[in-house]
């Protein structure tokens, strides 16, 4: 395997400098002094970055700042409202098949943000909890998200005697990655269980998770067993359908 490419490393240094510089605008001379690089080298890097839109100048020959194209890349996360719109049909179908409430979550700091909620289809009185925050470590949604993302900082509160400790969670994450789905059993609320699977965008990046939750008696064959595989298959199929909707899977 070849070593790191020097010019890319230097370009990254230039971008970092522009991002953290107090005025966010620097001249070729200022950059060359700060990075201890020759002016022509810095100039060449800036010209190339300018061509791809990663840096820009207010006026020709003036100072450089970060370009619009860079911000577009940085903000190309999936909008939660977009995810809900794309997932609408498949979350409905999941709720109908599983006969349970469906939620779609995304990571929001240390928590799972519920971006979509479909009622359990029994016409009972239920309240929409879109916008609610859930603890990641005690929900299937959170585990499915963290298994394919970053481990959030912070203490992990024990909600029940079944809530996993960090060590158990770390081990569990490998299983989640292997299986591509997650569950919780009495971990947030005694007597409740949940199943979730990751949703991927067209780059294959996990951008959300979809899952069902409900009483253990309905989701599991016995109170100590993981949720029934039939329900797991519905959840995974819904996750695949939403991923497909996002361009994450080909038909």
């Amino acid at each position: 395997m070849p070593g790191p490419i020097q010019s890319i490393q230097r370009a990254a240094e230039v971008l970092k400098l522009l991002a953290h510089g107090g005025a966010h605008q620097l001249s070729v001379g200022e950059i060359s002094r700060a990075l201890d690089l020759a002016k022509p080298t810095v100039h060449g890097i800036l010209r190339t970055l300018q061509e791809v839109g990663f840096v820009e100048q207010e006026v020709e020959g003036g100072k450089y700042r970060l370009g619009a194209a860079l911000f577009q890349i940085g903000t190309s996360y999936l909008d939660g409202n977009e995810l809900r719109a794309k997932a609408l049909n498949w979350s409905d179908t999941l709720a109908m098949r599983a006969r349970e409430a469906v939620r779609i979550g995304v990571m929001h700091g240390k928590h799972v943000l519920v971006v979509h909620h479909v009622f359990r289809p029994d016409n009972s009185r239920q309240t929409l909890d879109t916008g609610a925050l859930l603890p990641w470590h005690a929900t299937a949604l959170g585990k499915a998200l963290v298994a394919f993302g970053e481990w959030p900082d912070g203490d992990l509160q024990a909600f029940t005697r079944h809530t996993l400790n960090p060590e158990e969670l770390h081990t569990g994450m490998n299983v989640v990655r292997d299986r591509d789905w997650a569950y919780d059993l009495h971990e947030l609320v005694e007597g409740e269980a949940s199943v979730a699977a990751p949703i991927r965008d067209r780059r294959g990046v996990v951008v959300g998770a979809i899952g069902i939750s409900g009483p253990v008696e309905r989701l599991c064959d016995s109170p100590e067993q993981p949720p029934r595989l039939e329900l797991v298959s519905y959840v995974r199929e819904a996750a695949r359908s939403v991923s497909r909707e996002l361009g994450g899977l080909s038909w």
Binding site: N81, A85, N89, M96, R97, F119, L128
Partner: protein, 494 residues
Amino acid sequence: MAYIAAIDQGTTSSRCIVFDQAGGIVSVAQREHRQIFPRPGWVEHDATEIWTNVQAVVRDALSHASLSFSDIAAFGITNQRETTVVWDKATGEPVHNAIVWQDTRTDALIRQFGDQDRFRERSGLPLATYFSGPKLRWLLDNVEGLRARADRGEVLFGTMDTWLIWNLTGRHVTDVTNASRTMLMNLETLDWDSELVDAMDVPREMLPEIRSSSEVYGTYEGVPVASALGDQQAALFGQTCFEAGEGKCTYGTGAFLLINTGDKPVRSQNGLLTTVGYKIGDEPAAYALEGAIAVTGALVQWFRDKVGLISSAAEIETLARTVDDNGGAYFVPAFSGLFAPHWRSDARGVIAGLTGYISRGHLARAVLEASAWQTREVVDAMNADAVNAHSAADLTALRVDGGMTANNLLMQFLSDVLDVPVVRPIVAETTCLGAAYAAGLAVGYWSTTDELKANWHKAAEWEPSMEPAARDRGYRKWKKAVERTVGWMDEDDD
């Protein structure tokens, strides 16, 4: 296991959705078609492109779920209504682009007809550019040689259901719901009305045979084509509004509130349309009152495509949530005049209440709120008609469907301004579901409408939480903004 495939030939795209017996979605395919704008106010579609797309989405929907035609018990059709196409009977070639429902080219023709309510008793409709009859008349008057060809019986007229059924099965038929939007059908007899046909001066020979909404019209690839319903009527059917007094509002390009009025047509005193809800085989037709709003989702699309402040329709909610309210701005999207309850073709859009304070977030709010305030006007008209007809009491909850129901901010605001709960059923795709249900009933895939009702479940509900004073103030401002749209167009405007 057999499935039902619904073809939804919509304003911006054609879709095919395959449903299972529980009404769950098995597969979806979609293709957009071109919107052709030859002049301001004119909107056309290429009917050949649409037929090509329909064949493609059927193929795609089947292949996505690894199904073949033999797995499909029936096809159902639902379609954008009023859009008018005329084609050569021998070659199947359209003689002109289809004229889309939003198109206002028949404005002058409509004015010549005089009194807006001239045809209301027979057709249930006010004179407006919206309906098919005047569009057909425009084609006969403006496409060279067309009238002579029509008189010789060489060309056929149809709305999109008719165009698709003709291409799928070879039969020249339409269903009562689509026919009720032509302004040529008599609401009582459910047949072409000689007086209306003569007044519009269109040759009767080119009109399709009017059939029920749920029966086998013919077959495509060996599969029965067994339903046709205009998109809004299909949504009413998909929401299982089978009893008088039950209704729904569908949010798509426009928004359409329909209430089932049972087996008798109810004439509106408040700017609503009287239309056929559906007709199952030989059973009596169910009628409906309809409040049609031309621009709701189309305003969000306009904001995305023409203003460019958002890159997808769903992002409007993200942008709108950057602010707490509309900042005093009201957006009345009278892009092609105002539909229900005003019916003012001389109106054009305004953004009222602009100040230096207004940011793009406020504009996004105003864009969303426009859908809710327009619904409020139509609901008020429905309630007034219900009082006049001594029929069902005021609306106590609003059943909603359509793509915009994914927008939580809009749904909450809608509940706030209507002051009733807003309820979304578990299948938001009620338009396709309704076409599937009607087709399934025709071939015995489902046996009764009760069986269909059992499939209806609440997926989400929004409760009103706005202070009455804030609601009243907002509605007052909205009405003032609406006043500012009317009378904009002049006689000498194109």
